[in-house]
């Protein structure tokens, strides 16, 4: 946990920290990760509800998205060349730019700009956007005149590029892509500028026509030919992955990677590429039928040592998905409800958040409406497919519930629930049924059988002892019958007692290890499926306890009772994925 400890969890946000210090804005201290960020983000969303504070809400979301992406791509701090947008009219220092490139923009106005950002650092005057807007609104200056004047400006700041992008886009047809070209030019001069990056990212994610995306991406890979290319264009790749066949993605990426490799020759940075692969693999694992995913995983694993901790977590998450996909066919074939859950899982990795949320809520309703179907879909027997499925389902449901389910309430009265769980176990144990009667009879039979065997062993042992004495000792005693019989009786009883005692200790274990153990397992399994499990489901429905609390209470109650049916009930409940899935759905109840 990397939230500042001395801060009030409900304290209002310090807006002066945006956009230059989003980490402090989110009240995070050094070394924070994405989990800390998300926690803090959710706290702020609770404070600034969108219906009451729409402007603040939007700022928080934008800052969160930007910082989250930066964290994922290993650029948690704003770029060194970032301009001060909050005082756009102040002087700024132009950084040493990246290389200039104009292969795709030779015929545009943006390429007539010859001086932006090139050369050594120089003090530059940023444009006063407010004043410019005033002049344009009042008619003191025409749009095209202002645009042409700005194009000629020697050293441009990000606000200059922003103004050029807006004015160029307004004066020329959209096909000329002046908005994008000026923004990219700005990013060439001011690498990593948050505002320009946000605009490019947003444009690619929401406005660039899907059919033009491959060409645009290739063009951008020539302009921003470094590891930052991947972060900047992630939104466009996401659209390609979702709306075009996977081959389009793979081919376009291949071309872009070649351009980036050529442009970034000698630059060892691969953090952006690794983060991007991890992002694309979320989708590729489900959709790629060729070998891209294998190559990508290989690349990621090759650079495992250089990955930050939170990306290792992402990789672990992907490995869990991979494990599930290995059992997917088996999982889905077992029951229609499982196919529904699988469809939601797939959507979670391949579709938009809104659609995922809707599918998830509908599916949870279905689960909640029919515990019988859940019990049928997830039999009490352990299965690798269910084991692979459950962590993904639990994580995804929890994520959706944290956004859409009613807030989690105050602590439950565990003392009350423990009493009720004890009662549940006791009543389940005592529940009359054919299975339990058979089991009880089998217990009685086992006792009688054990006694019969011991009696038999005792008789045999006695006979052997007695007859042995009679056969070997009587001739030596010269026919002293009375004395020998007495001795034979004593020895016979002694042998009998020893044999019975040994058998009493040993035989039940032998019986348990061979027949009885397997029989009990089978009977317990039947009893659980037919008698105890419906009661457990009914209890879950009534109690609305979360599965892990219920499981813990059952384990405690069973441990406090002597080893009997309650131990079996607890044993089965601990591994019952049906109960767990049903319990998760209960979080969505209103």
């Amino acid at each position: 946990m990397k939230l500042n400890n001395d801060s009030n969890p409900d304290s209002a946000a310090d807006w002066s920290l945006l956009p230059h210090d989003p980490g402090r804005f989110f009240d995070l201290s050094t070394g924070f990760d994405r989990k800390d960020l998300k926690r803090s983000y959710n706290r702020l969303l609770r404070l600034y509800k969108p219906e009451k504070h729409p402007a603040e809400f939007q700022q928080i979301r934008a800052a969160y998205e930007d910082l989250e992406r930066r964290l994922r791509y290993g650029e948690a701090r704003p770029a060194s060349g970032e301009a001060n947008w909050s005082s756009a009219d102040g002087p700024a220092t132009a950084p040493h730019s990246g290389r200039e490139h104009s292969a795709d923009s030779a015929k545009t106005d943006s390429d007539r700009d010859e001086s932006s950002g090139g050369g050594d650092a120089v003090a530059v005057e940023a444009i006063d956007l407010e004043a410019l807007a005033g002049r344009l609104e009042s008619g003191a200056e025409s749009l095209s005149a202002a645009y042409n004047a700005l194009v000629k400006k020697q050293h441009k700041t990000p606000p200059d590029f922003y103004a050029l992008a807006l004015m160029g886009d307004a004066t020329r047809p959209p096909e000329e892509l002046l908005l994008l070209r000026w923004l990219l030019k700005g990013l060439q001069s001011w690498p990593g500028d948050s505002a320009l990056s946000q605009l490019v990212y947003g444009y690619l994610r929401t406005q660039a026509p899907i059919e033009t995306l491959p060409a645009l991406l290739v063009m951008i890979s020539r302009t921003i030919a470094n590891d930052g290319f991947y972060r900047l264009t992630e939104g466009a790749w996401e659209r390609l992955l979702r709306q075009r066949p996977f081959e389009v993605f793979a081919k376009t990426l291949e071309r872009c990677e070649a351009n980036v490799a050529e442009g970034a020759a000698g630059d060892p940075a691969i953090g952006g590429r690794v983060a991007f692969y991890l992002f694309a693999l979320r989708y590729a694992l489900w959709k790629d039928t060729r070998d891209w995913k294998e190559r990508a995983l290989e690349f990621v694993e090759e650079h495992f040592d250089q990955m930050p901790e939170h990306l290792v977590n992402d990789l672990d998450g992907l490995m869990i998905v991979r494990e599930y996909l290995a059992h997917r066919a088996e999982f889905v074939a077992a029951h229609p409800l499982r196919a529904r859950l699988d469809a939601v899982l797939e959507a979670a990795y391949t579709r938009d958040q809104l659609e995922i949320d809707r599918m998830m809520v509908d599916c949870q309703r279905e689960v909640l409406a029919s515990p019988e179907a859940v019990a049928e879909a997830f039999p009490a027997t352990d299965s690798p497919a269910c084991r692979a499925f459950f962590p993904l389902w639990a994580w995804l449901s929890d994520d959706t519930a944290s956004r859409l389910a009613p807030p989690v309430e105050e602590a439950q009265d565990l003392k009350l629930w423990k009493g009720r769980v004890i009662r549940l176990l006791t009543e389940s144990k005592a529940a009359p049924s054919w299975q339990s009667t058979l089991w009880t009879l089998a217990h009685a039979f086992r006792g009688a059988f054990t006694i019969a065997v011991i009696v038999f062993v005792g008789i045999v042992a006695f006979s052997l002892g007695f007859l042995g004495i009679m056969a070997f000792v009587m001739p030596e005693r010269g026919g002293d019958i009375d004395g020998t019989v007495g001795l034979g009786m004593i020895v016979g009883f002694a042998v009998m007692a020893a044999a019975c005692l040994a058998f009493w200790r040993w035989f039940p274990h032998l019986l348990k290890d061979t027949v009885w153990g397997a029989f009990c397992q089978r009977m317990a399994d039947r009893c659980y499926r037919r008698i105890w499990r419906p009661r457990a489901f009914d209890f879950m429905r009534r109690s609305v306890l979360d599965f892990f609390t219920f499981r813990e209470l059952v384990a405690q109650a069973a441990a406090e009772a002597p080893p009997d049916e309650r131990t079996w009930i607890s044993h089965f409940i601990q591994q019952d994925f049906g109960l767990a899935v049903y319990s998760i759905a209960q979080r969505f109840q209103e």
């Binding site: 945006l18 939007q58 934008a62 807006l166 209960q586």
Partner: protein, 218 residues
């Protein structure tokens, strides 16, 4: 577009792009997916707050006011909240009959208070209250009072009891439960062992009497 010059693209990029889409007549139908999900979350949270506020005052606020507010709710696509609103409507309508109930000799104020909490508590609060009452039914006196009250409620406000019918059935079924009468959260094996002890004593007594009888006969 000029307006966009006054926006800060750092956190108003969506607005800038939306203005641009409007300018060019570009299809801006691809919303920011994160924003769309957040909007949906906010919409649902706002609706939930409205319904929960009505739930909190359903026993105290003016019935006409509650009816009006409930009718103003638009809960399409939210079946859980719609079901909760329907529940509140039934309670509001039934409230008029409740004062007469209190005069009945079988009326049990404690049980009724619990019933109110079950009807209008949150999911977990209601579940806890139901189990608390079920646990209290182990006390014969409370059980008797409770059963009378359930009967009264079923007669006078069937629309309210219908909403909690499974719970009432559970409470009634507990009455005839043998395990409920003899084994109350205790250890059954201890109970069984006690019976085995008694049986052994009886068998010894039987043998003793038989031996005594045989001696007497001889």
């Amino acid at each position: 577009m000029i307006r966009c010059l006054r926006l800060n693209p750092m956190w108003q990029a969506d607005q800038v792009l939306a203005s641009r889409a409007a300018l060019h007549g570009v299809d801006a139908a691809i919303p920011n997916p994160q924003q769309a999900a957040l909007d949906e979350r906010a919409r649902k949270a706002a609706l939930r707050n409205k319904v929960y506020k009505l739930r909190d005052k359903v026993w105290t606020a003016s019935r006409d006011d509650l009816r009006k507010r409930l009718s103003q709710l638009s809960l399409e696509g939210e079946p859980e909240l719609a079901a909760l609103a329907d529940r509140l409507r039934v309670i509001v309508d039934a409230r008029a009959k409740l004062p007469q109930l209190t005069e009945h000799r079988d009326f049990d104020g404690d049980f009724f208070e619990c019933f109110q909490k079950v009807l209008t508590g949150s999911v977990r609060q209601s579940a806890e209250m139901r189990e608390r009452v079920a646990a209290s039914f182990q006390d014969r006196r409370l059980k008797k009072r409770g059963l009378r009250m359930i009967k009264l409620l079923r007669e006078k406000v069937p629309e309210l009891t219908a909403m909690e019918e499974p719970w009432f059935k559970l409470l009634k079924s507990r009455c005839g439960s043998v395990s409920g009468m003899f084994v109350v959260d205790t250890n059954v094996s201890t109970f069984s062992r006690a019976w085995i002890g008694v049986a052994i004593v009886l068998i010894f007594q039987l043998f003793y009497r038989l031996a005594k009888l045989l001696v007497e006969v001889e």
